[in-house]
């Protein structure tokens, strides 16, 4: 079996620590018990080699033998085809996992990400733009809530769809956006207490907190934090590393 190599940044500012999207891939690899190595690329100097793997200058990407693949959704689906621990084996179950994997990204994160960007950067309050995006997210959660109240996992058994949906909702929860949605909160708790998430999260935090800030001038992030605070996104170094990866350099 070919070596699986996950590539992520060598460092990130405090704000997005624990939320960078390589966590989704780490989590899936841990669930499947697939052996892998982690490589890193500089956060502050993205070169042509980086863009050849990830055209938007983001992370993560995965190499699997001579194949290099970017986009966390694509990587998870690729891994799902390698392990029954990540996708149901029967065609109907696979379809369920597939539709919910896309729903996590394109129905829920599509609403939660712009909401998080404005929440991160403090552009909330009584503006029509914020209200519009807040309504968009609430409409999606309103329909997701009864689904998650009725089932443990989206496709029957735990799958890549749950890795994505739980990771998407966990960021909403960070800004208290799941208040009034107890089934969504319970689901996040259920997913993120799985040993594979706990290990993936600890590994991401360990890697991303072991270095001093490489930026010039320094962004002010401390090398280690027990629990990452919701940081100041007027600092461009922080904005670059939102989980959504807004404001890419280079």
């Amino acid at each position: 079996m070919a070596d699986l190599i996950l590539t992520t940044f060598d460092w990130v500012p405090e704000t997005p620590r624990g939320y960078v999207r390589d966590i989704r891939v780490r989590w899936a690899l841990e669930e499947a018990g697939l052996p892998y190595r982690v490589k890193s690329v500089p956060f502050d100097a993205r070169n042509a080699e980086h863009f050849s793997h990830q055209p938007f200058g983001q992370v993560p990407w995965l190499t699997d033998g001579d194949i290099s693949i970017f986009e966390s959704g694509a990587i998870l689906l690729h891994l799902g085809n390698r392990s029954d621990a990540l996708m149901p084996a029967d065609p109907r179950g696979r379809c369920k996992a597939l539709e919910w994997l896309f729903a996590a990204l394109n129905s829920v994160e599509m609403a939660s990400l712009p909401w998080s960007i404005l929440a991160f950067s403090g552009n909330t309050g009584d503006t029509p733009g914020w209200k519009r995006l807040d309504e968009f997210l609430k409409a999606r959660l309103q329909h997701l809530e009864p689904v998650l109240a009725r089932r443990e996992w989206l496709a029957g058994t735990f799958s890549v769809a749950d890795i994505l949906m739980a990771d998407v909702l966990r960021l909403v929860d960070r800004f208290d956006g799941l208040e009034g949605h107890p089934a969504c909160r319970d689901y996040v708790a259920r997913a993120t207490t799985r040993p594979s998430f706990v290990k993936a999260h600890a590994d991401q935090m360990a890697r991303q907190t072991e270095q001093q800030c490489p930026l010039s001038p320094p962004c002010g992030s401390k090398p280690t934090v027990a629990k990452p605070p919701i940081g100041d996104l007027t600092n461009p170094a922080n904005l670059q590393l939102l989980p959504c990866s807004v404001g890419v350099r280079a």
Copy 2:
């Protein structure tokens, strides 16, 4: 081969006409030459049967024999597995199509959709929230531009990735968001002059314009329009049917 049945709304207001997401599925089915039928559900009365197929109360969904699948990305991938006209046959080409399919949805539409929501509803102008989302979209287009300048189609040959990316960019172009990105504009033109898109678009428009507005009170949409105007989204009937499906009822 089982019957393929695409379900969409029986009517939509003027604003989103021609942009409802069933166009992606129609386009793929036309490209692949797969026989299909179109069914419709009421726009204004979404019942439990509707939610059992599409938990967010949106369209489209596809039934393929005894499988029912929602999310346009999931449907296109499902169809891609049935036809070489939609996905390259070799593993490396398939991976390319897969990563770009997700990039269209999760890297580009993730930025363009909130931007479109604010553009649609007139919440642009000199606000920090709008600026943040506008920067987000521009950063993505900046990186997409050189990619599209170098290649005709994202995965080498035309694929489901191009259907999604072109449909995503076409909405940005509607609000003149591709100015300064000639390769993106050329790509949209290249994709949307394909006979399969032309037919899919005409079919969608024909279906959605043949009825009078069923809302009470009427939303003011005319039954037929040659080219849908950028409508007034202070009207809730219009907001509900954004391609993103903001402000779902029921």
